[in-house]
């Protein structure tokens, strides 16, 4: 069974400080990992995926298969980063359909 763990329900940092939202997963096969974000009064939306190796809004995330982790990082947090963040996992699909499994979420608050 696949499982996603976000150990922190709440994370509070000051503006300009580095931020790291932790995500650990358990899955025996080859996973694909994602971060979704929900800003206040907005829809949940895809932030980034590990296969893209991209930086979105200054955030990056590296898949560490040895530690089964996919932590989300940003060197300098901004107030507009305050949101609920969900880590999610799916199998490598190869064209097949597999559902996403979400973690329980971390509420990030960036204080001025």
């Amino acid at each position: 069974a696949q499982r996603v763990t976000q150990p922190e329900k709440l994370l509070s940092v000051f503006k300009g400080a580095p931020v790291e939202l932790k995500c650990n997963y358990s899955y025996s096969g080859s996973p694909e990992l994602f971060w979704y974000v929900q800003y206040s009064r907005q829809r949940l939306q895809l932030l980034l995926r590990h296969i893209s190796r991209e930086s979105i809004k200054g955030f990056t995330a590296d898949l560490n298969k040895g530690e089964t982790s996919f932590h989300l990082k940003k060197p300098f947090a901004q107030e507009e980063d305050s949101a609920m963040y969900y880590c999610a996992l799916t199998r490598v699909s190869g064209g097949s359909n597999y559902k996403l499994t979400f973690g329980k979420g971390t509420l990030l608050t960036v204080n001025p």
């Binding site: 949940l44 939306q45 995926r49 359909n97």
Partner: protein
């Protein structure tokens, strides 16, 4: 721009009522999903569908059913609403083979009294 529309933003129902939550998407997505979102529990998948008239159970299907008579519409049905079904319900859709790129609706906050 993809639009996933949920018919109601807020609903208040009584215990035992039959409740229908409607979701419509306008991007010809094959996949549609219903999640519930609860503080401290995250998103939990209730049901999903990969095609018209096709449905599969998610992680917490008990007390729910779904209907997909048309590709663009996916309905969640609470056969007999109970107080523990008070929650935020999120509908999502995606293209076949792109299950990870979900487009979400705004959500329906259901209160069962």
């Amino acid at each position: 721009d993809v639009k996933v529309t949920q018919s109601s933003r807020y609903l208040v129902k009584r215990t035992g009522e039959k409740v229908f939550l409607e979701c419509v998407q306008d991007m010809d997505h094959e996949n549609m999903f219903w999640y519930r979102q609860d503080p401290g529990l995250g998103l939990r998948l209730i049901y999903f569908s990969y095609d018209v008239k096709m449905k599969e159970k998610g992680d917490i299907p008990e007390g729910y059913s779904v209907s997909r008579e048309k590709k663009e519409r996916f309905s969640l049905i609470l056969e007999s609403a109970s107080t523990n079904q008070t929650s935020m319900y999120l509908c999502a859709s995606s293209f076949l083979g792109e299950d990870e790129k979900l487009f979400f609706g705004s959500g329906t906050q259901l209160s069962v009294l």
